[in-house]
């Protein structure tokens, strides 16, 4: 059996003195997609931040391609192949679309043109500044910027948050294309439960910093089961 792409063992992490994640175990194989759902404030975003090195790992270990990430700086994790699309998008407001992408480019399979093929809206707005884009375009730019870093694993933190339904639909199609066509492992944190369950075969439910369910997404499509773990059906 091949080594997992990402492996978290007994991970406890947080910010400063505060512990947000407790005793977490998670394994992700190459090309595997997993959705993470749960109520607000249960540690979903903190989990991605911990993998990325933005939160303090207090206990346990994180391995990526069998390499221990404990003492690896955030920028090196990205260069190792972990891409991160943050919840707040955080595009650089005074850089143009092209420049936002250029500053993130790493050598690898993803070319700028390939990214623009995936996001034709961005191609047409190459010379527009980040702060001139709509929320949906900023989200696309955030994904595009992560892709040109040539990740093997893409961490996506609530990409549909705050977007109009029509944009969410468009974005959903793109994320699905990433799953189907590019053999990318994706860890998707998502509030839209129906989309999250449809997106990945495996879903993780988090509650109070712990994983309370890690298994088949289909089982959660039953409303009662979902209620049991999440409490709220979106």
């Amino acid at each position: 059996m091949p080594d997992p792409l990402l492996q978290l063992e007994n991970v406890s992490a947080g910010y400063g003195e505060t512990i947000v994640l407790e005793n977490l175990n998670l394994t992700l194989s190459e090309g595997q997609c997993v959705s993470i759902i749960g109520r607000n404030g249960v540690g979903k975003s903190s989990l991605l931040a911990t993998i990325m090195g933005h939160a303090n790992l207090r206990d346990g270990s994180i391995r990526f391609e069998s390499k221990d990430l404990t003492r690896v700086a955030a920028y090196k994790r990205c260069r190792m192949g972990i891409g991160y699309v943050p919840q707040e998008r955080e595009v650089f407001p005074s850089l143009t679309v092209q420049e936002n992408i250029d500053v993130a480019r790493q050598s690898g399979d993803w070319s700028v043109e390939q990214v623009f093929d995936l996001f034709p809206n961005l191609a047409a707005r190459r010379s527009n500044r980040g702060n001139q884009l709509s929320g949906g375009e900023q989200q696309m730019l955030a994904i595009a910027r992560a892709l040109v870093g040539n990740p093997k694993l893409l961490l996506m933190d609530e990409p549909s948050e705050g977007l109009a339904p029509v944009i969410v639909e468009e974005l959903g199609e793109i994320i699905t294309r990433l799953r189907d066509e590019f053999n990318l492992a994706i860890l998707l944190v998502e509030q839209h439960v129906k989309f999250a369950l449809a997106f990945a075969e495996t879903t993780i439910v988090m509650d109070r910093g712990m994983i309370v369910y890690n298994g088949d997404s289909k089982a959660l499509r039953d409303e009662n089961t979902l209620n049991q773990y999440v409490g709220v059906v979106a």
Binding site: M52, G53, H54, A73, A74, Y75, K76, C78, R79, Y84, P86, E90, F92, P93, S94, L95, Q98, E99, N100, I101, D102, V103, A104, R105, Q106, S111, V112, E113, A123, A124, R125, R126, S127, N128, R145, A146, G149
Partner: protein, 333 residues
């Protein structure tokens, strides 16, 4: 509004397009050359302005692009000035261009060594550390009197004619050109840097450091790199200062000099390069005029100008001009 669409796949083409020279960029250089022939201001004052421009450009690289706020940039200006001065006064190294490069190189190396440590900090801690660096350098220069002349200043600097021909004459005719050419090369280097992918990544660091780390950018290394280049350029300004005046005092390392250059840059507008030109020109001319008209109160008048700028032109004078041009264009449209 029309959106410009770029066909080129290669980002180099995109960057080249955005670095194309605009005709308006020739203006400061035409004015600088015209000043030599028309001399509306003395060339001595012109040389001071040019040195201040180089120093302000060096600060703009780290402050305007890298977002590093410092109160100790005079440390590198002073390092360049003292090294060039001491090479001449103690070792007889009087050749101007190599002396200037030697001063700048030592300042750059000093910038690298200090930047490696300083840039691990940010915010108030960085501000205090840079302030402390400037004070420590001034004190170091004070106690190493044998080399620096201490409180009395470093005298005995004799600079050979440039290329063995052009002397540092009383009217600064030759040194005006020398300083202008140095300014032009420093500006070219700055322009090249800020328009490169590296320069764009500095803007990214200024706007969101954590995000730059998350997209794989070695933030500390990049900041140290630009800090070193900035210190090298500040060293050029300091070395020029020493060569022009043939005298260096502790003032080159003072907090006042670090503060003044910060004011000059903020006055002109940070993150624009040309803000350094506007700030230096306005600051020195206003300072000169006020000092002539009101010898006892000129600093009060200068303070008033700065307060007005801070209140009404927060993007600096150049930023205000840009806003005005945009406003006119909107009216026209």
């Amino acid at each position: 509004m029309t959106t410009k669409v770029y066909d080129a796949e290669n980002p180099v083409v995109f960057l080249r397009d955005r670095t194309r020279w605009h005709w308006a960029e020739a203006l400061p250089w035409i004015v600088a050359v015209a000043i030599f022939f028309l001399q509306p201001i003395t060339l001595n004052l012109g040389v001071q302005i040019l040195i201040t421009i180089i120093f302000a450009l060096s600060l703009d690289l780290i402050l305007g692009y890298g977002g590093v706020v410092t109160l100790g940039h005079a440390a590198y200006f002073g390092a360049g000035a003292y090294v060039t001065g001491m090479l001449s006064a103690h070792l007889g190294w009087n050749e101007p261009i190599s002396g200037l490069l030697a001063g700048a190189t030592v300042a750059g190396a000093f910038g690298f060594a200090t930047g490696w440590i300083l840039l691990r900090y940010h915010g108030l801690a960085l501000l205090m550390l840079t302030l402390a660096l400037g004070i420590m350098m001034a004190e170091l220069a004070n106690v190493t009197e044998v080399w620096t002349g201490g409180f009395d200043g470093l005298s005995g600097i004799v600079i050979d004619p440039i290329f063995g021909i052009f002397e540092n004459d009383l009217w600064r005719r030759n040194y005006y050109w020398y300083s202008l050419i140095a300014t032009f090369f420093v500006f070219l280097a700055c322009r090249r840097i800020v328009n490169s992918a590296f320069g764009r990544s500095l803007v990214g660091i200024r706007e969101n450091t954590e995000r730059m780390r998350a997209i794989g950018s070695p933030v500390h290394l990049r900041l140290v790199t630009i800090y070193t280049i900035s210190a090298f350029m500040a060293g050029i300004a300091g070395a020029l200062f020493a060569q022009v005046n043939a005298y260096v005092t502790l003032d080159v390392l003072s907090f006042a000099r670090s503060g003044t250059i910060l004011i000059v840059l903020v006055l002109g507008g940070t993150g624009r390069l040309y803000g350094a030109f506007v700030g230096a020109l306005v600051y020195i001319l206003v300072e000169d005029e006020l000092a002539k008209e009101y010898p006892a109160y000129w600093e009060l008048g200068l303070g008033f100008v700065l307060v007005l700028t801070a209140l009404f032109f927060r993007q600096g004078l150049l930023g205000a001009l840009e806003s005005f041009v945009r406003f006119c264009k909107r009216l026209k449209a």
